[in-house]
């Protein structure tokens, strides 16, 4: 695997008309800029566009991306199938906050034989669950819910499922 950093920040600006139809434009900034520097550059450009347009800026985003340089030349193994998946539901520190992570192409070896239940006692599964609750990379560096509530525990035991299948 060779995930390679994109050389740029991708800036996207969304403008709206009276009826809330939207139109997007974008530009790029050097990836070497910090988040603060990229944000400042984005603000400068939007302020300079403002006197040139009749539309209204309603959304903007900054994106840092990566791409896999060896794909599709080196594809996933034959056993892979993204329509086979397992949902990991995590509960936030404040109810009812929760979030679900769907792992595609979950390995069948991680599913308890004769069931669709993911074996959460497996070391790799347990490490993933623990890492999602606390990455160990410092305060403020662990996944949260959409509203920013820290994730503190696993919800229901994850099950293997398959799209369009009543069972897993």
């Amino acid at each position: 695997m060779a995930l390679t950093d994109n050389p740029t920040w991708q800036v996207s600006l969304t403008y709206a008309d009276r009826d809330r139809n939207t139109s997007k434009i974008g530009f790029h900034l050097p990836a070497a800029l910090t988040f603060a520097q990229a944000g400042a550059a984005m603000s400068t450009v939007t302020s300079l566009i403002e006197p040139l347009t009749d539309a209204v800026l309603v959304a903007q985003s900054l994106v840092l991306g990566q791409y896999e340089s060896t794909w599709p030349a080196t594809p996933a193994p034959e056993s892979s199938d993204v329509e086979r998946y397992a949902d990991f539901s995590f509960i936030g520190a404040v109810k009812p906050a929760r979030t679900t992570i769907r792992i595609p192409s979950i390995l069948n070896t991680l599913v308890i034989d004769g069931t669709n239940t993911v074996n959460i006692a497996d070391a790799a599964v347990a490490a993933f669950i623990a890492g999602f609750i606390d990455t160990g990379l410092g305060v403020g560096n662990s996944p949260v819910t959409n509203s920013g509530v820290d994730l503190v525990s696993l919800g229901a035991t994850p099950e293997k499922k398959h799209r369009f299948s009543a069972k897993g």
Partner: protein, 157 residues
Amino acid sequence: MIMPAATARVVITLADRDHGKARISFRLPFSISASDAAAVRSHIIGLMLPLTDARVIGTQIVWEYSDATPTLPAFDVKLQTKGVLFYRNATRAEAFYIPAPKPSLYETTGEYAGIRIDMSNPTIAAAINAISAELANTVTIEGLSFPDEYMVGGLVL
């Protein structure tokens, strides 16, 4: 007023053998630095890979801002039109687009009336020059310097 979202979004795209694709996304505190977000992304991918035989083919870390109650423009704003500014340097040309450009930007007489940006108007020229100067600090999608010579600008339908 444009406000930051509560969280930043990490998107991981995976593909199976048949190029079927799936996306995982999770959230991080909006205030996280780019370098810390990248470290968390790598950490989570490292924990996830032993669970799947799909391949990670791309990732994104997205910081979003939005205005939930924008002051909407007049009824006659034409979002279907765009203005385009063309730039060049010794090796390439690039375009920069402006949504729903003000009709007052264009020349008012001659064969390009209503079409070409009027650089003879000092106010308009100053605005175009200001944005051109800032765009010179940006890069192309490949990470190359954005061309710094303004060529021409006009209306795109």
